[in-house]
Structures are given as C-alpha cells and as structure tokens.
Amino acid sequence: MIFNYIGNYSLIISVIISLTIFFLSISNLQKINIKKKINLNKLNFFQFFFVLVSFFSLVVLFVLSEFSNITVFNNSHTTKPLFYKISGTWGNHEGSLLLWLLILTLSLFIYFLSSKSRPIKERLLTLIFQEVIIIGFLIFIIKTSNPFNQIFPIPKEGLGLNPILQDPILAIHPPVLYLGYVSTSIIFSSSLASLVQGNVNNLWAKHIKKWIFASWIFLTIGILLGSIWAYYELGWGGFWFWDPVENISLMPWLSLTALLHCILVLEKRSLLSSWTIILSISTFTLSVCGTFLVRSGILNSVHTFANDPERGLFILIFLFILVFLSLVIYFLFEKNLKTNNNKFNLLTKESSILINNWFIMYFLSVILIGTIYPIFLEVLSDQKISVGPPFFNKLLIPFLIPFLIFMSIGPNLNWIKNKIFENKIQLIIFFILNLILSFFIIKIFGRITLTFTILLAASFYLFYITFKDLIKKDYKNISQAISHFGFSLLILSILMNSILSKEIIANLKVGEEIKFMESTIKFKKVENSSRSNFKSLVGFFEINNKDDKKFLFKPEIRIYNQPQVITSEADIKTNFFKDKFFVINLVKGENYFNIRYQEKPLMIWIWLSTILIAIGGSVSFFKRYEK
C-alpha cells in the first residue's frame, strides 16, 4: 500500500530537515550575523508538514482498513464505525507517539512565528533545544515503534480496538491532553535558552506566559475529559481513583499551576527567576516521565498499549539525558540570573504566591512518591504493593486546609507592601460562622470528624471570598477571580459529593425487588439486541420513590465481538442537584446481575467548576495588555 511508504519516507525526510535546522541554528548562532535573513521559518514549516503527511497517511491507512500495516492490523477492524477508525489512529502506542511528534513540531512552528519580539539568539537557542527533543522522538519512533511496519501475508481482518476506548470523549481526550503535555516543551526550551542568554526577566515572563497559559488550559481540559470518561464508562462510580495513570497527568498539571503563579511574580516584580527555571524544567520532565511510565507498560492500566522493554528503556535514557543536560545548563549558567535586590515582605502577594508554591510542591511530592514508590520497590525487592486512596487522602486533606485559607487571603493582598488588612474582624467572624455551619452539615449527615469540619469551613470561606471578588466588577483580575471561584466550587462539590453520596450494591434476578433508602428498585426485564460490532443486554429497572414517582433506568451490558470484551454502559440521570447512576454487570450465566445504584449529589458541578477554572485561564490568555 502506497501510504505505508509515504508515511515512512516523510518521517525520514523530517529527520533530515530536523538535523538541518539543528545545524543551521548552531552555525547561525556562531556567526552572530543578525542581519542575515534566515529561512528557518520555511524549514520549520516543512518539518511540521512532513510529520503531518506521515500522520495523515496513518489516518488514511486506518480509514481504509489496510491490514498490511501492523499498527492497523493490531488496532482496527472492518466493522468498526468510521469515527473510531479515525480515532483509533491515536488509540495505540505507535499512533499516539506520532501525534506527540506532530504537536511537538507544530508548537515549534508556532513558537518561531510568534516570538519575533524576542532576541534572535534566544530564539535560535530555543530552536536548538526543541530540535534535540524532536530528533530524540523521531529516532524513538523510527527505531522502536514505527507505525508503518508491514505484515505479510496480508491478514483479512484486524484485531480490533479495545471497546472501552471506543467512545467520543476518549477520541478527543488524547489530542487535548497531548496539546497540554507537549506545549510545555516550548516552555522548557525557551527557559533554558533565556537562562543561557541571561534574559530571565519580566519581558521574557510576559512572552512565555502565553505558552504557560495555553498548555495549562489544554492540560486542565484533557484531565477533565479523562475523568468524565472514567466516570461513565468504567462504572467505578467516581471521578478520581488515585490510579497511577491519573496521578501522572496530575503531576505536570500541579507543576504547571505553580509555574503559572510564579511567572506572574517574575513578570510584575522580577523575583523568583531561578525557581521559575526549575519549575519549567520539572514540568516538561514530568510530562515526558508521564509518557514513559504510561507507554512503557510499567503501569498496568487502560492506557498501556504495549509491553516492550526496549521502548521503556529508550524513553528512560532519553529522559535521563534531558534532565542531565538541563541540570548541567542550569548550574553552568545560573550566575546569569540577575539577583534582584527587591525585598520580600511577608504580607504581600508575592510571598503568598511563594507559600502557594510550597504547598503545591508538597502535594506534588506526595503524589510523585505515592506513584513511583511501588515501582521502585518492585524493581528492587520484588515485593508488590499498591498505594491507594487512603494514603493520598491522609497526606493531602489536612494540608488542603491552610492551602485554602491562604488562597482566600493571598489574592487580595497587594504587590510589594501591604497594610494590615482593614476588615480583619469581619473576615474572622465569617470564618467562625462557616465553622459552625459546616459542623451542622456534617452532624446532620453523619461522619463527624474534625478535619472534615474544618476543611468544609475553609472551602466555604474560600467560596465566599472568591464569590465576592467575582462580583466586584473589577475587570483587571477577572481571569483570576473566575479560576479561583471555579476552584472553590470544585473543592466544595467534591467534599459535598463525598459526604452525601449513597449507594447500594446487590445481585438481582429478573423480577426481584430490593429496598434502598425509602424507595424500591425493581428489576423488570432484560432485552437482547445485536449490532454490527457488539451484542447488547439492556436491563430495565424501575425505582419507586415513597411519593410514588417512578424512574426507569436502562443500564446496558455490551459484549463486543472483536476483540471479545464485555463493557458496562451506565445509565446516568443528571440534574443540577444530583446524579443518579445505575450500572449492571454480568456474573456467571445470565441468572444474576450484579447491580449498583448510586445517588451522587452535585456531580455535575465537579465538571462545571473545572470548566470554569479553564475559562479563567482562557480569559487571561486572550486578554489584551493594558497600557
């Protein structure tokens, strides 16, 4: 098939272009001939273009179900709907790496176009660092996971895509997440470049801020999509499980969030420059680390496509070289950072941002250790352990309280200097009121614990303060007000959700009834039907409330033919107050069904508030600069 060759050769051409750009930039850097027009823009475009061609060839191969291609053979099937044939392109190891590369070259192209205001040397250096990453990934793809390998004799039928990945949200989840992950590479390269050039100042901060916001927004949305998918597709009845793969996407997000706040201090006050560089390095390292851990098969999960030690080793070495090189550069050029004599006062915005950074670093290290400790232990001592939610809850929740309180106070402080706040008494009284309110909420619904009460109070407090800021009509800080309000809403919804959720799990036969709270759940019947790529069993359940309102739930079990996998499709009824979640599973034969019914208050607010957080970021991204 011709597209196999087109894809393969465009990849090789892009290696050549990348090497050309790499050496051209180095020679340009040495000549210091700024006046000479460099045609790097065109080369950058061609590099992106050939990766794009290669990516499209793979898409075409998937659409045409060309099973002469191993990747297509392993991950596609003729009966699959067209939409999932296309999304299947990145639903596997090889294709997803090609997507990584595509975004990597795209972001470099955009960077070079949009950074004309920066010194040429800094841009060239950024280009060089970025090319190192691109060439590394190109070699990785061609050597260990070439998507265009062929198979002979040509099979008649493919092996199919894992059905739980056949889902509209999961089709767009990887591209969005990757946009977030990969654009941190620009932050990484640019921060190293400006470090070498001694340019780490407020102008650079202003320039790179756009990239930080862009990747942060994509990462936020990407994580949200994954979480929504896990909620309705996996049938675990929650939105966050402290699964290693989830943690791995959260870590770059935390680091990026710290960076996002830190860059503001650098922009406004020219402080924290070395800390900014360290955060830029760590954000990108965590992104690559995430790709490494997820794709190498070390973590066993939905996302793990292949179990090939060679691939894992390659990314590990690559990661090691990246970290090593960036640290060497950091220590060699650290003296270039201008130490600013601006003083830090305790009651200022900058010091509260520093405190926020400390907390985020603490959260990050807890998650990091909780995620990689089991891996190290297994490698070192052959013991298998798992670190679950209790570990994270215990270490994170108590520290969330001061974090929330600082978050309510910090944004209202001024830069540089601050008077002791004026309406101190009002704030304290309000906090005590919140404490009492939270105590009663928790007392009514059981589960009285001190931490929970204070935590609830702190989040109510944050909610009140951020809400006040939001309606203040102060458009200067509107983006921050939206994001912080979204965050308080998120914490509050998560808390209420975990306190007030109720559920029942039982095994039922058709015709049986079960009591739940003050209502009855009746299993009426099962309907069988058959589709092109799966058989479906739909259970009909009727829930009778005490006031005689009836609700019909139709959860479904799908038995896919290729590959043979059973999935549950939950039936979820959503409104603004609560979600009703019904899921069934098949257990041995078809007599008993394992059912789970949950009432989850404020579920939709968890999604909405996360969207609000991202909207706040976008407002800042599109904001025109005053003055």
């Binding site: 009845g237 807890v366 270490l395 789970r596």
Partner: protein
C-alpha cells in the same frame, strides 16, 4: 555579626530544609501504614503468621467455583499450586469471569479464607497476574 540579609537567607534555608525533612518524614510514615501488599495464594500459604493488614490476592478464578446469591459472591482464587476461598459482597468488574485473572483486596480470615472488600477491574481481556504468567510459561 552577619548582616540582615544573610540572616534572612539562613532563616529561609532552615525553613526550607526543615519543611523538606518534615514532608519526607510524613510521606514515609503514612506509606508504612497505608501500603497494601500483593500476594499469591502460594505466598499466603507460606506466611509464618496471619497478617491483620489489608492485602491484595491475585490469581485466576477457578473453573466452576463462582457461587452467587443475592447478597454475596463466593469464589476460589488459584495460582495452580494453591487455592484460597474468597467471600465477597459488592460490585464486580466486567472482566470477572471463571478462568480469568482477578485481584481481590481485603483481609485474611485464616490461610484458606479471605474476606474481600473490593474486586479490582482489569481492562485487558488477556490480563494475567505476572506470577501466573510465569507459572504457565514454565508448564
């Protein structure tokens, strides 16, 4: 004496180092308490004393061993050398079937009985706990 700036810097460093030490201490301490070990039925049999901690047991669901009623699901986990009876009531994942890999989390009653609190989902139909894969490979 040192200047004000140096003093501040030292204070900052002390605060930084002590908070790092505190963080590491906290993390390690709760790791100790909250870690769940993963054992195979053979490893359970060879335990010297019965552990009170929460553990995970992994293996295959033995053929014809699932016994289901409206409140509970009982089954046997085997690694083809030893077996353990599991008592469970709760949600089972989609891929919970006889002759398929399974991981159960809960507490040991004695060396033959395990009271599970959670059956874990595995998303791959071909998933098999690594020990068992090794065992089958030897055969």
């Amino acid at each position: 004496m040192y200047g004000r700036k140096v003093k501040l810097r030292i204070l900052f460093l002390v605060a930084l180092i002590s908070s790092i030490i505190l963080t590491i201490f906290l993390i390690l301490k709760s790791l100790e308490e909250n870690v769940v070990y993963f054992l195979s039925p053979t490893e359970v049999k060879s335990l010297n004393e019965l552990t009170q901690d929460k553990i995970r047991i992994g293996g295959m669901v033995k053929e014809n061993s699932i016994d289901i009623s409206s409140e509970k699901i009982n089954f046997v986990i085997t690694d083809f050398n030893n077996e353990i009876n599991v008592m469970y009531s709760g949600l089972v994942p989609n891929l919970f079937q006889e002759n398929k890999g399974v991981v159960a989390e809960g507490f040991l009653e004695d060396k033959n009985y395990f009271k599970a609190e959670k059956i874990l989902a595995k998303h791959d139909e071909n998933y098999m706990p690594p020990e068992i894969k090794e065992k089958l490979g030897e055969k």
